[in-house]
Amino acid sequence: MKFVVSSTELLGHLQAISRVISTKNTLPILDNFLFNISGNDLEITASDLESTLITRMHLDNITGSGTVALPARILLDTLKEFSEQPLTFDINPDTMAVVINSENGRFSIVGQNGIDFPVLPVIKKEKRFGFNVPSEVLLTGISRTLFATADDELRPVMGGILVEASTTNLTFVASDAHKLVRYQRSDAKADDNASFILPKKPASLLKNILPRESGVVSVEFDDRNAFFNLSDYRVVCRLVEGNYPNYNSVIPKNNPRKVRIDRLEFYNILRRVSVFSNQASNLVKLQFTPNQITVSAQDVDFSISAYERHKCLYEGDDMEIGFKSVFLIEILSNIASQDVVIELADPTRAGLFLPSETSNEDEDLLMLLMPMMINA
């Protein structure tokens, strides 16, 4: 087997998929990239058993066909140091010895038989479901919700993003039981209702790969696995099994108190005041009086406290509610609008954070944050 490839182009593809390779693999073969040569295509695979990334390169100069697994670390470290130049890979199919010829050098490595590499799962025909989605929709959906996923090993379903496809819209939901994000797009639809829970790691892998392409992503899944097919890349991942909690029931419907405040200003106030909050609880108190918000925090252990007032649009009776400042800051930094609308019922019920206006008619973003129990 033999092929010629541009060093920087190969590096670009390898770096895109190398993020899946975990530092402590149970199977040594997973420390390798799998090169699969057939026809005029070079297909490179990286995997951690749970998720698999595949990229395809179209090459003109290929002779022979077959598979070989090459050590990822060595390949990445050497390719990084090459300037743009053609590299010739010469693979001996019997010994798996690989010689890389550069313009003025020769690098020999030993590959492994590609047969040892774990095979891709297949989608069960009877449980298969598929839909097409613009890559921009998938990317925004993942990046808006990813921060709200949980790290709780006891509740694995919460560690992923729920992707719900229906005949009217596509919904992304993530929650760690303290905060919840729901991102809905009515410009992406499916033929039927179906959903899957996308784990955190493939979600962040997708978040990195999706910006490389524009176009339509074809999503295929069954009860175990999901395939995301882009034109040059494929992401295959094991799904989280289990039922996602009924998130709609925790979104409060009647919120008599509505506040509208400049998002960036509010964010900056929180960044300043939260320095004075207790480092363990991060509690900041928001006090709403007509057209004014007071953000306060204190740390009794060090006798420090701070408060800051700001104008906002609020009509209603006075109210005080406590939130974890890190969550508030996270939520505000994941909303893009100029102003943010906060909808509240009482100090024991969740607060809703909504963008005041949106540039996209088809977009619906809702963020929810549970308060902290303060002794009013």
């Binding site: 909690p245 363990a280 509690l283 974890k324 002794n375 009013a376």
Partner: protein
Amino acid sequence: MKKSLKVERSDVLRSCGFDSLTAGPSLPHGRDLSFAPADRQAAGPHDGAQFQTFRPSDFQTFRPLTMDARSILHLDLDTFFVSVERVRDSRLNGRPVIIGGSSDRGVVSSCSYEARSFGVSSAMPMKMARAMCPEAVFIRGDMEMYTKYSRMVTDIIADKAPLYEKASVDEHYIDLTGMERFHGCAGWSHELRDTIIRETGLPISIGLSVNKTVSKIAAGEAKPNGEREVAQQQVLPFLDPLSIRKIPMIGQKTYHTLRSMGISTIHTLRVIPAEMLGSLMGQNGMEIWKKANGIDNTPVISYSEQKSISTEHTFDRDTTDTVMLNQMIVSMTEKLAYELRRQEKLASCLTVRIRYSDFDTHTLQQRVPYTAFDHVLISEAQSLFRRLWQRRMLIRLIGVKVSGLVRGVQQLNMFEDTPEMVSLYMTMDRLRGRFGRHAIRRAAGVMTAAERSERELRKASELLAEKSRMEERLRGWRY
């Protein structure tokens, strides 16, 4: 042999910076400082609190500001609980007073010197104390009042001292390092002690030395109502003749271990190679050896975080009443959870402890996600208790403890904490805050009237049966 050891020691001391030059003027062995006020005028430059004029020669005697030349003062209130009771009721003066649980199963928590002469000591069972000293005045004790007096003492100290540590309800440490130069530690300490006695009426003993251990031992030696200063070069001569019992770390068990090896004075303990104690008692052995040598580098810490909140209950009679035991667990855990919320803290570890009637004690603990909610802690405590109670035996004591505390309030969970439940907690806490802790409680932690009367009835019938058995036995004796 002994002589060569001694030489070695002084070499060690010198290399450690314990140079006699750096210490103050040599004082007689463990000088007693409890002098009359008139003497104070005549006392040397280090004792008086009044302004002095310095001569250049004085400067040679000043200690450098390093860790190995510290001045630590230990203040220990004498028979604290008894003293408070005496302040409240002067009729108790001069009489033996014993404070402790009123039931037969209680223990002595404090006793006056008069009672001690009868052989009564603290931690002794109340029943025994009553037998030893029947004429004593027995008082149940009022922890709240003692805490109030303790705070009065702390306030006086906080007012005057730069750096103090409240080690317990009746003990304080003050770091006076560097004050020698301006005030004279001994004189300053004497005035502080006078102030405390004058303002609170409580007798207090003080020990002034180079570290916490030695000053604590010195205060113990100064008791009752005395003062004792042990200067750097006096530390070893002061410690040597004392019993090893005086070292704060040595309790009943260690004492017996060491005594069985023939060690009774601190001097003997000190000359034993440290490695030997280390192999005998591990890390503790090394610590004890250091203390016996008057070495203790622990700093005076002005504030220490509360590490746990606990409560326990010893039953009047050992019991296997499952319903009652469970009620007890519920009410105890509820009390702790309320205390957590009141202090705005969250706990991450729960411990349940039981003691069987043969004093066999078991504990079991469980990590929990940070919480201050009753319902979470109660169900954990109950399951721990179920797992813990393995032997089919009467239970003497149960206890519940929460630890791993952090300051903070509960972050609500959208799937578990309903608004109704949260409002209920907040309302109950508000009621408790206003009307006291017992204003509102979980029904599961309270006995119903029927249960209570049933229990009383059973108790009475048991007593009756026992009485008749006893009479029977007595009749048998007579004939």
